[in-house]
């Protein structure tokens, strides 16, 4: 079966979604990612959706689930590169995706994750 590749980048995992996913593929990605996060003890997950031209309620829920599950494992997820037309449509659809961190691109997403890691270390030090 085809799979969405998950790439390890230092402490982070990067997923770049390039294809129009059918629902089973999206579910498989959700499972794979959680397993990888637990196994690699990753510090953060970046999901690049700049090539996605549709995010419907199903994909939206998947992104939300990934964020919630990785958070439960002590890791943050950042969704990066959402296209304006997709963002406008999601808002109209009524999806809020409140639990998800977002960034304009992969670089900014990594900076955000690093800043959050630093913040949580500082908190723990106190």
């Amino acid at each position: 079966m085809e799979k969405i590749p998950i790439i390890k980048m230092g402490d982070f995992l990067l997923v770049s979604i390039q294809v129009d996913m059918h629902d089973r593929l999206a579910m498989a990605l959700q499972d794979d990612l959680t397993i990888r996060v637990a196994k690699e003890r990753s510090k953060g997950v970046l999901i690049d959706i700049s090539s996605l031209d549709v995010v419907d309620s199903f994909i939206g829920r998947m992104l939300d689930n990934i964020a919630a599950m990785t958070r439960a494992l002590g890791t943050e997820t950042v969704v990066v590169g959402m296209q304006p037309a997709v963002a406008i449509t999601i808002v109209e659809l009524g999806l809020s995706l409140e639990n998800i961190y977002t960034a304009l691109n992969v670089d900014k997403g990594m900076a955000l994750l690093e800043a959050r890691m630093k913040a949580s270390v500082d908190e723990n030090d106190e």
Binding site: M82, P84, A87, I88, E92, T102, L104, K108
Partner: protein
């Protein structure tokens, strides 16, 4: 009307194609509505010629009164093309419709000759010819109007983009100073433009300044809030500045909640907020 009546029009169009063409061109050249400044007689001849041959082809199917039948598609496509190009050249609707209506006279004359003293047949033929040409004429006028609307919309869009430029205040900070009345469609265009610029420039902050906006209705307020949400999904933060007291009051009355949207009194305040978030401090140089 009885459907079994076999009109002579198709045969006539075939038999007298060249004569009809000459007579029709003459009728158009004589018409007071002809725009010699916009249309050369060579162009006029070319489009008349093409229309006649398309008309003849469509008419041979014998279905003269049902323009929805597929054989009329080429004729309609052609007329739509004529309307569109005339709309963009600045013709009026009646100048454009005259193209079709002026064909009545040459056609009627031929029909009269053809029917001779058979007045019942003549009446029948004239009714068909009038109905057909009127429908084609109306079609021309309708497409002409919708093309004009398209042109106007396009121009409005261009004006909008000119009148509401997104400016870069600082590396990573955009500003959209809105001036004048916001209606819902203007807001939509402007907001899409802002989101696109956010992506292109990779700016994490966008200040929407509405100091120059006299009033805001519910729809516009909702567009503003949706833009803020969309920007957040993309990974950027919008700050709304310059909400005047009256507008704040209206919003509350309309039940529009700004919730967790960041608002600042002025563009300057918004800018210093963005600076602070980005870790930038501005210092006066000590002499």
């Amino acid at each position: 009307m009885n459907d079994t009546f076999a009109s002579k029009i198709p045969a006539l169009l075939a038999k007298y194609e060249t004569d009809l063409l000459e007579e029709w061109i003459k009728a158009q050249l004589d018409a007071t509505t002809l725009r010699k400044d916009l249309l050369s007689s060579a162009d006029l001849r070319r489009s008349s010629d093409e229309f006649l041959s398309l008309l003849r082809r469509a008419a041979t199917t014998g279905n003269l009164l049902n323009l929805n039948a597929p054989e009329w598609l080429p004729v309609k496509d052609f007329l739509a093309g004529v309307s569109r190009s005339r709309a963009s050249q600045g013709f009026t609707p009646s100048e454009t419709a005259t193209f079709i209506f002026s064909f009545k006279q040459p056609l009627f004359t031929r029909l009269q000759e053809e029917c001779g003293s058979d007045s019942r047949a003549l009446a029948e033929e004239l009714w068909i010819a009038t109905t057909l040409l009127d429908r084609l004429g109306l079609f021309t006028a309708e497409t002409f109007l919708s093309s004009r609307e398209d042109i106007i919309k396009q121009q409005q869009l261009e004006m909008l983009e000119l009148s509401t430029p997104v400016v870069t205040l600082w590396n990573g900070i955009l500003a959209l100073p809105l001036i004048g009345t916001l209606d819902s469609s203007r807001t939509q265009v402007v907001m899409e433009n802002l989101l696109q610029t956010i992506v292109e420039t990779g700016s994490e902050y966008a200040i929407i300044d509405i100091t120059g906006v006299p009033t805001v209705d519910t729809l516009v307020a909702q567009h503003l809030l949706k833009t803020v949400s969309a920007a957040r999904l993309m990974g950027a933060q919008c700050i709304i500045s310059g909400i005047r007291p009256q507008i704040a009051q209206t919003m509350v009355h309309l039940g529009v909640a700004f919730g967790d949207v960041i608002t600042k009194a002025s563009l300057a305040d918004a800018l210093s907020y963005a600076f602070k978030q980005m870790g930038i401090t501005v210092l006066r140089k000590q002499n």
